[in-house]
């Protein structure tokens, strides 16, 4: 089998992994600390790293995975030399920022990890490659191998795969929750130790300097958004994760336990989860503020921040000339950048709407929630106007996507077909009425 064919097969096996970021490693020139996208594929996802599997041979039979052992597909593996050569040549032409290496489980988790370590070692020490490396650990591999992998890679990640233990037992019978959480804890501790050692001695070996990440599949199991968000918050808090990635389930293989093959991936739900995730990481929201037991699903029509705002109207309007940074961050239409700009700029003069607009505040949403030097000029807005301005126009471009597979998880009716201008307008009106009456 020639290199072209191998690359095709092993890329196909790896493409469902969500993470493709390269942020966090600071080696000037070799990596861009803030991350750097080298291309965007036809699905709009960024291509930063050469995302491939070392092999797609697998002894595990996870129901949702293309590489499951019971799936009849062509199997192959890179030799460490082939992989290193490819990485170096791509990196040299500025196609990629580094390597994202995952793998199917060949023979045993330990054997596979050894193969991965061998490939990475070759790359780092024989070919002197100091670009970014993101490596996936194999669940069930021994701690010593995880440690060696962490010393070679910039970021190490363990896929949590499914949001609850129940779903994991059902769909990934070979993976145990402990086998996932144990290495996560180990990586968290080792990275902490390494940072401490480096404070004392600059040349101390770096363990996963860009931290760890994880990903879970959305929509293959009946878990609610509330469970997912709570889990993510716990992972950020307990294991100091840098990122949690959510990947909408895309049917790759048929199974009676899974949604049918013609099931459309829940892209809107994935999008809302990422929005909620950003609220937790960069806007100072808690998981409990975004969702609760009584309201376990994210609102498809409003983004989570707007949703929080319309449900907490008593907190508004916020005076942009006086409010604290944390309060500004909670206003729809004001993001971290514009909030920081407001705090700096207001020391040198009072801010009106024109100034806010020039600073990058999205007044379309923010105007209902702020008080500026020349605003509001007249009476307060009614709820209908507010909600109409906040309804996410993108929601209808997602088309007739099923929001939740499992009855009871969501009571929303199907969204109208995109393109039908009249029905979209009607749907907006209906949504506005419905949301406004709920307030």
């Amino acid at each position: 089998m020639d290199l072209m064919e191998k690359l095709t097969i092993l890329t196909n096996g790896a493409k469902y992994d969500a993470a493709c970021t390269s942020s966090g490693a600071d080696r000037p020139g070799k990596t861009v600390a803030a991350g750097c996208c080298h291309a965007f594929s036809a699905d709009g996802r960024c291509v930063t790293l050469l995302k491939v599997l070392l092999t797609n041979h697998c002894i595990f039979d996870c129901k949702y995975c293309v590489n499951r052992s019971s799936n009849d597909c062509r199997r192959t593996a890179f030799t460490p030399e082939e992989l290193a050569g490819l990485t170096i040549e791509f990196y040299r032409r500025n196609y990629i920022e580094g390597l994202f290496l995952s793998s199917g489980v060949m023979r045993s988790p330990d054997y596979t990890m050894e193969q991965m370590i061998q490939a990475l070692h070759l790359l780092r020490y024989r070919y002197d490659f100091w670009g970014y490396i993101h490596a996936k650990t194999i669940p069930g591999a021994s701690p010593e191998l995880v440690r060696r992998l962490g010393l070679l890679a910039d970021r190490v990640s363990v896929n949590i795969e499914l949001p609850s233990e129940e779903s994991l037992r059902l769909l990934a019978p070979h993976k145990k929750r402990e086998a996932i959480l144990a290495p996560m804890k180990q990586i968290c501790l080792a990275a902490g130790e390494s940072r401490q050692e480096m404070a004392v001695y600059k040349k101390a070996p770096q363990f996963a300097p860009a931290g760890q990440a994880t990903q879970m599949i959305i929509g293959a199991s009946p878990d609610t958004d509330y469970q997912i968000i709570r889990l993510a918050a716990a992972l950020y808090g307990k294991y100091a994760l840098k990122r949690v990635f959510y990947s909408a389930y895309i049917p790759a293989v048929a199974d009676s336990l899974l949604p049918a093959l013609d099931f459309k991936p829940p892209l809107l739900r994935e999008h809302r989860l990422y929005q909620a995730d950003f609220l937790m990481r960069q806007y100072g929201f808690g998981a409990e503020e975004i969702l609760s037991e009584d309201m376990p699903s994210l609102n498809p029509y409003l983004d989570p921040k707007c949703n929080w705002a319309v449900n907490h109207m008593q907190e508004f309007p916020v005076d942009v000339n006086a409010a604290a940074l944390e309060t500004l961050l909670r206003v729809p239409g004001i993001g971290p950048t514009s909030a920081r700009r407001i705090v700096v700029a207001r020391r040198h003069g009072r801010l009106g709407l024109a100034e806010l607009k020039r600073m990058g505040v999205v007044l379309k949403r923010a105007q209902y929630f702020i008080r500026a030097s020349d605003w509001p000029s007249g009476a307060r807005f009614d709820k209908h106007t507010t909600v109409r301005a906040l309804v996410d126009p993108n929601v209808f471009s997602f088309g007739t996507e099923q929001l939740s597979l499992f009855p009871g998880a969501s009571s929303l009716r199907q969204l109208p077909e995109a393109g039908e201008a009249r029905s979209v307008a009607e749907a907006v009106e209906e949504t506005v009425l419905c949301l406004a009456s709920n307030l």
Binding site: C37, F40, A42, G44, K264, A345, R347, L351
Partner: protein, 262 residues
């Protein structure tokens, strides 16, 4: 601006200068000392004969240095940085916008840079953001081809971004020889023997690519096509993140720009 007497008053005159940053600083000198705000500041090659009085401002290193020092001491270091960056941007009438900013700055001092909602500052900040944003994208979108051991790339950005990506690529390819040719601005960053410089170049003739180079381009194209998930296809999203004006220089997508005429 209430409370401040403007340094210069609008006058019916057009300045022309040689296109260098020093030349621009001399225009600032001229404007302040003759107390006039010109209608327009143009590079000599862009100037066209009009009925409006035009004045050619000579570049004088001593005057330029005086203006540079005055920006540092009377406004701030950040103001100098902002003006230097904005000078490389593609902002329309950038010289005039920068002059307006400096004239206000001489009156109001360091705080002008923090008045991010103010029109003159916001205009320059937007231009700076546009330039730095483009430079960041280019760090990813530059595609090198191996030509006889040296790496060669072509870019066609809107701004003059070359000085802002030079450091990154020099650090990344310290052991290599490379050239990045900027088609829009007629300049090239050339790095060899551990020395980098930006040269004025109008055209670059590239030799045919070798077989192994074609092989790697094909491998990359295959990877790029394969890594996309069909059921998530979203061309609009791709275009938002990777605007089409970059595609002509990227081997994996340039084929999509001109579908073959059958």
């Amino acid at each position: 601006m209430p409370g401040f007497k403007p340094l210069a008053l609008p006058a019916n005159v057009v300045y022309t200068y040689d296109g260098s940053f020093e030349g621009f600083l001399c225009c600032v000198f001229e404007s302040v000392y003759s107390r006039e705000l010109p209608l327009e500041i143009l590079r000599e090659e862009d100037a066209q004969p009009t009925l409006i009085q035009s004045r050619s401002v000579a570049t004088d290193p001593v005057r330029a240095e005086r203006v540079r020092a005055s920006i540092r001491s009377k406004i701030s270091e950040r103001a100098l940085e902002l003006v230097t960056t904005a000078f490389c941007s593609c902002l329309a009438q950038k010289e005039l916008r920068m002059l307006e900013f400096l004239l206000r700055g001489y009156r109001e001092g360091a705080k002008l840079c923090f008045m991010m909602g103010d029109d003159v500052t916001a205009t320059l900040l937007r231009a700076e953001k546009h330039l730095l944003g483009e430079a960041h994208l280019l760090k990813g979108f530059v595609r090198f081809a191996d030509v006889g051991g040296a790496l060669v790339a072509t870019i066609s950005p809107k701004n003059y971004a070359l000085p802002f990506i030079a450091r990154h690529f020099v650090l990344r390819y310290r052991q290599e020889r490379f050239m990045i040719f900027d088609k829009t601005n007629g300049a090239a960053l050339v790095y060899q023997d551990c020395k980098a410089e930006i040269l004025r170049v109008e055209r670059v003739e590239l030799p045919e690519i070798s077989e192994s180079e074609a092989q790697y381009q094909a491998l990359w194209k295959r990877f790029y096509d394969t890594v996309s998930i069909e059921s998530r296809e979203n061309p609009r999203c791709r275009m938002t993140h990777m605007p089409k004006r970059y595609w002509e220089n990227m081997s994996e997508v340039c084929g999509l720009l001109r579908p073959k005429a059958e």
